[in-house]
Amino acid sequence: MAVSFAKPSLPGPKDIYQAVLSNGITVLARSNFNSPSVSMGGHLPAGAIFESDEKLGLADFVASSLMRGTQTRSFDAIYNELESVGASLGFDSGVHNASFGGRSLVEDLPLLLKLLAESLQTPSFPKDEIERLRAQLLTGLAIRAQDTADMADMAFDQMLFREHPYGRPSDGFPETIQSITRKDMKDFHRRHFGPRGMVIAIVGAIHPKKAVEAVEKFLGGWQVTAQEDAPLLPPLKPVRTTMRHHHTLTGKSQSDLIVGMTGPRRKDPEYMAASLGNSALGQFGMMGRIGDVVREKSGLAYYAYSSLHAGVGPGTWEVNAGVNPANLKKAIGLIEKELRRFVKSGVTKEELADSQANYIGRLPLSLESNSGVVSAMLNIQRYDLGMDYYHRYESLVRSVTRGDVLEAARKYIDPDRLVIATAGP
C-alpha cells in the first residue's frame, strides 16, 4: 500500500482568514484550489424569535421572499442570472437566524455576492410573487399535515418546549400564513435585517483576502440604524412526568415515533460527552444500541436511531423510529428499556473507544467539500469554539471519560420524565 498520504488539512488559525467589516459583518474565508468552485454560507439574527404567535411563519415567509424581486431585479431576472451560470443561492430561517447559502464557479462569485447583497438589502416583496409564494407555503403545510415524521416532530417540540419559541413550528400554520400581509413582511425586514450580527463564510478557489474584499464591495456599505436586539429565551418549563401525544393520521401504513427530552447547548462543557454517549446509544455502526435492539434484533423498523440537536439554546436528545402501527407500543417499550440501561451504567469502555475513534477518523471526510468547511467555520464562530478547534479536536474527543458520559446522560435523561410523540393511524 502507498505510505505517504495527503496531509489532513484541518482548518485552523493559520488558514482561516477572519475580518470584521466596519458595519459589523464578520467574514471568514479559506482557500481550496482543488476545484474551480466556491461555496458561501452565513446567517444574520432575523429568525422566528421575533414573530408573534398570530404571525407564526413570518420570518420564514420573509426569508423565502428575499429573492422574489428586489428594487432593481425581478424574480425571474435574479434566477436567470444565477441559473445561467449554474450557480445557486437560497435563504432559510430558524428560530434565531435567517441563513443563506450558495455556490458557483469561482469566476461567478461576484455575481453570487451581488445577488446576496441585493436580496438582503433591497427586497421589494412584489405582490403577485408574495401570493404565489403563499400558495406554495400553504401546499407545503398541507403536505406536512400528512407526513407522519413531521407531525410527530411538531407534537414533540410542542410538548417539550411549552410557551417557548422552540415549541413553535417556524413554518407556521395555515391560518397564520394566511394572515401575514405584505406590510408585515416589509416591517419585519426593516426592523430585523441588518449587518449587525451577520456572519458570512467563503471557501473555494480564491485567496481569502480577495474574498473579504469582494464581501466588502457588495455588503460593506450596508447600514441599518433600527436593527432590533433579539429577546432573551424564556426559561424552560420542566417535564415532571412522562408526557404522551398521538397525532392520528388515517390511511398511513407506518407510524413515526419520537421519545426524547432536552439536551445540552452546543457551548455546554458536557456537549462532547453527551455527543459521544449518543453515538453509542443510537448512531455508531448500524444506529448504535437503539438500532441493534429495534432493527437488528426485533426487525421492527427500517430506521431507529438517536440524535442530539444542539444549538445556541437548549437542545433536544431524541430517539426516532418508523414502525408498523401495530408495533408502536413494543418499540417504545424497547427504547425506554435502553434509556434506563443507558442512565444506569452509561457506555462500556469499548463503546466509548469505538465512538472516539469514529469521531476522529471521520473528520477529514466531513471537511472534504467546500460546503463542509463553510459549515465548520460557521460553527466555530457561532458557538465560540475557537479558531484552533479542529486542531484541538482529537484531544477534546479523547479526553472524554466513561464517567463524563454517564454524568451527561444522567443530567439530561430521566426515563420517568420522557416526552413521547407519535403520529400515524
Binding site: 488539512s9 437488528e296 475513534a357 476522529i360 477518523g361 471521520r362 477529514p364 467546500n370
Partner: protein, 420 residues
C-alpha cells in the same frame, strides 16, 4: 479531464478502475454488481434489494455486528443501494484504512452466510421500509407509473418489491440469487482517492483475483413494445394535495438521442442539483399559477427508460389545466428552433455541476463504476464536449420524436381529504 484512470480486467474477469486524487487523505471504494430489480421474475420481486441488505449480515470472518463497527471505528462511511440495473456497495475511508474495506468486499463477494434468523428479521425490516414508502403519495404514484409504463420489460416493478413477494421469498431464494450474480466476472471495483496506483493494484489482485469466476448470469431483458396511445391512471390516498406524474418513454444512456434529450431536459427542467426557477416547466406551470412545483428527471439506464415530470397542482387549480399548459410548452419546443445560447447555457450549467462533484471523492468514484454499468468511463469524461456539440435542430428533432402524447402515461394522485 485531469487525473487519468487505470482500467484493468483481472484473470477472473473482474473489472478494476483506479483513479488517483491527492487532494485529501481519503479513499472511496465501490463494488458494483450487474444485478438489479430488472433481473427479478414475478414472485421474486425485491430480491436484489433484500440480498443487498443481507450483505450486511456477516461472513464468518466479518460477523454481522463486527462489520459495522469495524468500518465506523475507522471513521469510514459505508452504504449500499439497489437500482433497476445494478447493486452497489461503497466505503469511503481515511486513506490509510482502506485495506479493511477491500478485505471486507472481497470476503462478502462469496462468503456471506445468509443465516435463517437474520433473513427472518430482515424480512420485517424491509416490509417496514416499504410501509414507510407507502406513506408517501409520490411513492404510490411512482409505483403505479412503472406498472403502466412497462408491461413487458422488467423495469415494471418497484425496486423494493411487492408485499406478496416480501412475505414469501425464502432464505434459499436469496442465497441462490446471491451466488448467481455475485461473481467477480459480474462485478466492477472502482476506487478513487489518495493512493498510488501500482501498490493499490497489487493489493486488489491479492484480494480479488483468487475468487473463482462463475457463469455470466443472463439478464432479463424483454424489450417493451412501443406504446400505442396515451395512457391515463389515477391513485387515491389521504391528503389535500393533487400530484401529477407524467412520463415519456426515453432512450437509454448510449442512444445517440440521449444527449440532445439532456439539453432538452435542461431547458425544461434546469440543471441537476440546482434551482430550476427559470426552466420552461417552472415558468409555464408555476409562474402561471397552475402548479406550486414542477420538475423532471430521467436516469441513465441500460434499456430505454422514462423521462418523468412531476407536478404539484396548485390548490385552486385543476390538473387538466396544468397538463394543457405543459402541452403548450412542449409544442413550442417542437415548433420553434431554440437559440444556440440556450445550449451554451446548458453546457455552462453542466460544467458547474461537474466542478461541484469534483470536490467530493465519493462522488468521483461513484461515476467511474456507474458509467461502467451502461457504457464506459469515456461517457463521463466526454460528456461536456458532446453536450456542447448538440445543435438546435437535434433538440427540435428529439422533442418531436419523444414528447408525443402517444408515447406518454399520465398518472394523477387524487387526495381524498384528511380522513383518508
Amino acid at each position: 479531464m485531469a487525473n487519468p484512470i487505470t482500467q484493468v480486467t483481472l484473470k477472473n474477469g473482474m473489472k478494476i478502475m483506479l483513479k488517483e486524487i491527492h487532494t485529501a487523505p481519503i479513499i472511496s471504494s465501490w463494488v458494483w454488481y450487474r444485478v438489479g430489480s430488472r433481473d427479478e421474475p414475478t414472485g421474486k420481486t425485491g430480491i436484489s434489494h433484500w440480498t443487498e441488505h443481507m450483505q450486511f449480515k456477516g461472513t464468518k470472518k466479518f460477523p454481522a455486528n463486527m462489520l459495522d463497527k469495524a468500518i465506523s471505528r475507522e471513521g469510514g462511511r459505508w452504504n449500499a443501494s439497489t437500482s433497476h440495473d445494478s447493486t452497489r456497495y461503497y466505503e469511503t475511508m481515511p486513506a490509510d484504512k482502506i485495506d479493511l474495506a477491500l478485505r471486507l468486499e472481497a470476503d462478502r463477494m462469496t462468503n456471506s452466510i445468509f443465516n435463517e434468523k437474520e433473513v427472518a428479521s430482515e424480512r420485517t425490516v424491509i416490509i417496514s421500509e416499504r410501509e414507510g414508502s407507502e406513506n408517501e403519495p409520490m411513492f404510490r404514484l411512482s409505483e403505479a407509473m412503472q406498472n403502466y409504463a412497462f408491461r413487458v420489460h422488467p423495469y415494471h416493478h418497484e425496486i423494493i418489491g411487492d408485499m406478496a413477494d416480501l412475505r414469501t421469498i425464502t432464505r434459499d431464494d436469496l442465497y441462490a440469487h446471491y451466488r448467481t450474480y455475485y461473481v467477480p466476472n459480474n462485478a466492477v471495483l472502482a476506487i478513487a482517492g489518495d493512493f498510488e496506483t501500482k501498490p493499490m493494484l497489487k493489493r486488489v489482485r491479492e484480494l480479488f483475483e483468487r475468487i473463482p469466476k462463475g457463469p455470466i448470469p443472463t439478464r432479463l431483458a424483454r424489450p417493451e413494445p412501443p406504446q400505442k396511445g396515451e395512457l391515463h391512471f389515477s391513485v387515491e390516498g389521504p391528503g389535500e394535495t393533487t400530484f401529477i406524474q407524467l412520463a415519456y418513454h426515453f432512450p437509454n444512456a448510449t442512444d445517440p438521442d440521449y444527449l440532445p434529450l439532456q439539453v432538452l431536459d435542461s431547458l425544461l427542467n434546469g440543471a441537476s442539483g440546482l434551482s430550476y426557477k427559470t426552466s420552461r416547466l417552472y415558468r409555464a406551470l408555476v409562474d402561471k399559477g397552475h402548479a406550486v412545483d414542477a420538475s423532471g428527471w430521467s436516469e441513465a439506464s441500460i434499456d430505454p427508460s422514462l423521462y418523468r415530470i412531476t407536478i404539484t397542482v396548485h390548490p385552486n387549480r385543476q390538473p387538466e389545466d396544468a397538463i394543457a399548459a405543459l402541452d403548450a410548452e412542449i409544442k413550442k419546443l417542437q415548433d420553434e428552433l431554440i437559440h444556440i445560447d440556450e445550449i451554451k447555457r446548458a453546457v455552462k450549467q453542466a460544467r458547474a455541476v461537474f466542478a461541484y462533484g469534483s470536490e467530493n471523492i465519493t462522488h468521483q468514484a461513484f461515476w467511474m463504476g456507474y458509467t461502467a454499468m451502461f457504457s464506459t468511463y469515456d461517457w463521463f469524461t466526454t460528456y461536456l464536449n458532446k453536450l456542447a456539440k448538440v445543435t438546435p435542430k437535434e433538440v427540435q428533432r428529439v422533442a418531436q420524436k419523444y414528447l408525443q402524447p402517444s408515447n406518454r402515461i399520465i398518472g394523477t394522485y387524487i387526495p381524498k381529504g384528511r380522513e383518508g
